[in-house]
Symmetry: C2
């Protein structure tokens, strides 16, 4: 039995027990050039089922990694759509802007995620993508990806699967926003975050939030004060430990129950 890496290399608050950081699954942590075949994320980000030859061909598509500093935008609403991106490192948010200065965060993204796929088939970006911490992404020019996916069926399936997953995620969010109350939303958020981090080889029960209470609120359709109160309540009831951005899930089943119960009367 061993602890898995926290989703951060930075120091923990002193009052919190520090978890050990392990190598995230792949033996060679040194990043190579931009050749996908040597990338540490190869298992997670590339289409599966490509032949060696196809994989090499696919690698030629990819721009060398681009850095996006915390606070900077990878793209903005209105920009021409010409590429999708694989997140290689870091954490980003996608934002939708509406009239009257209203805006909403429509997603958070971290390593291994495909981002910017939502504008596929359109001319321009309708959302913008901003880094919450220093990040690195690999761009794939869309026109060439479209071409290549015509003669590599596995690539076509990969693309369609990414699109499908985006749609399914969106449906889940619509469901969350349309039917859940504040505490259910936050519980759901925490559990899904935990799942995603687990899939990336991090600890399922302990993590660092990369976003503010206000950003969580924007994503979940509630105000930052409500987010904060829900965190405090979960802590009071022993379901989580929270200290500012550091969260530990003590009783995920309780969070799950909190979402599941409370069906409509009879």
């Amino acid at each position: 039995m061993h602890t898995r890496a926290l989703n951060t290399p930075t120091a923990m608050p002193v009052s919190f027990p520090r978890s050990e950081r392990l190598a995230p699954g792949v033996a060679n942590p040194a990043l190579g050039g931009n050749a996908c075949t040597r990338c540490r994320l190869r298992q997670r980000c590339l289409p599966t089922g490509l032949s060696e030859e196809n994989l090499r061909e696919f690698s030629t598509l990819i721009f060398s990694p681009r850095r996006v500093k915390a606070g900077q935008a990878l793209y903005r609403a209105g920009d021409a759509f010409d590429a999708i991106y694989l997140v290689r490192r870091g954490f980003l948010k996608s934002i939708m802007l509406g009239e009257a200065g209203r805006e909403q965060i429509t997603g958070f993204h971290t390593e291994g995620d495909v981002v910017g796929i939502d504008a596929i088939g359109s001319e321009r970006r309708t959302t913008e993508m901003v880094a919450l911490e220093d990040s690195e992404v690999c761009g794939i020019p869309y026109a060439r990806l479209e071409d290549m996916s015509r003669h590599i069926p596995a690539l076509q399936r990969y693309l369609h699967r990414q699109l499908s997953e985006e749609i399914v995620r969106n449906h889940s969010m619509m469901f969350l926003l349309g039917t859940m109350r504040a505490e259910e939303r936050l519980a759901s958020f925490l559990l899904s975050l935990s799942e995603r981090l687990t899939a990336r080889g991090f600890s399922p029960s302990e993590f660092i939030l990369r976003m503010t209470r206000e950003e969580i609120g924007s994503f979940l359709g509630m105000k930052l004060e409500t987010v904060s109160r829900a965190f405090s309540k979960f802590q009071r009831e022993g379901m989580i430990l929270v200290e500012s951005k550091h969260v530990r899930l003590l009783d995920p089943e309780a969070l799950q129950r909190l979402i599941g119960r409370q069906a409509q009367p009879q």
Copy 2:
């Protein structure tokens, strides 16, 4: 200046002035067999830019129209995903089912819409599609569509555009559910309904709602009573005329303003 067709062939309530029904844009209203080239919806539902030859090839894909009676499901959650559908006639809703018997309507669909595309790339349906009135859909087996789109670029683009539009619609819904208050949601709903019907050659300002207050509420994340009150208020303020399912927009700009204003304080 002439009036356009209402989105129904049925009789109007007597107290409402009846609009004239005109032919919906295409000269020959008699439906042919299942040959797309003779379908009255050809302009709206088929990929544009196909050569005559490609169009004939595409037509061979399509199953002959399938009828779905009001209340019946076209597919259910858990069904194998094997086809997408073009709505040829009628009106349907898609529903997402959650734990504890909760459910939410994620979309309404009418003629010319592509439905069932959300499960692309997955094995099984995650939502279900139920007809609100007697409907007709043309199925397209997905595996063959995927194949064919590899050698017909216009078809590939068409597919990607459909997926993109689905994603953009979902984002708009997330924005609506996450940032708008009840009256704004309903105003937004009415305007978007009006737009969609206009694009199909119906009257932009007068239409029949095919769904109940409860279904509108489910879609917009509010209770049926709140929907009803918002309708009444809009009518009191002279923005719409509403009599049960029959709606006329008297002042669309006012509805638009209702959404636009009310930014967050400074």
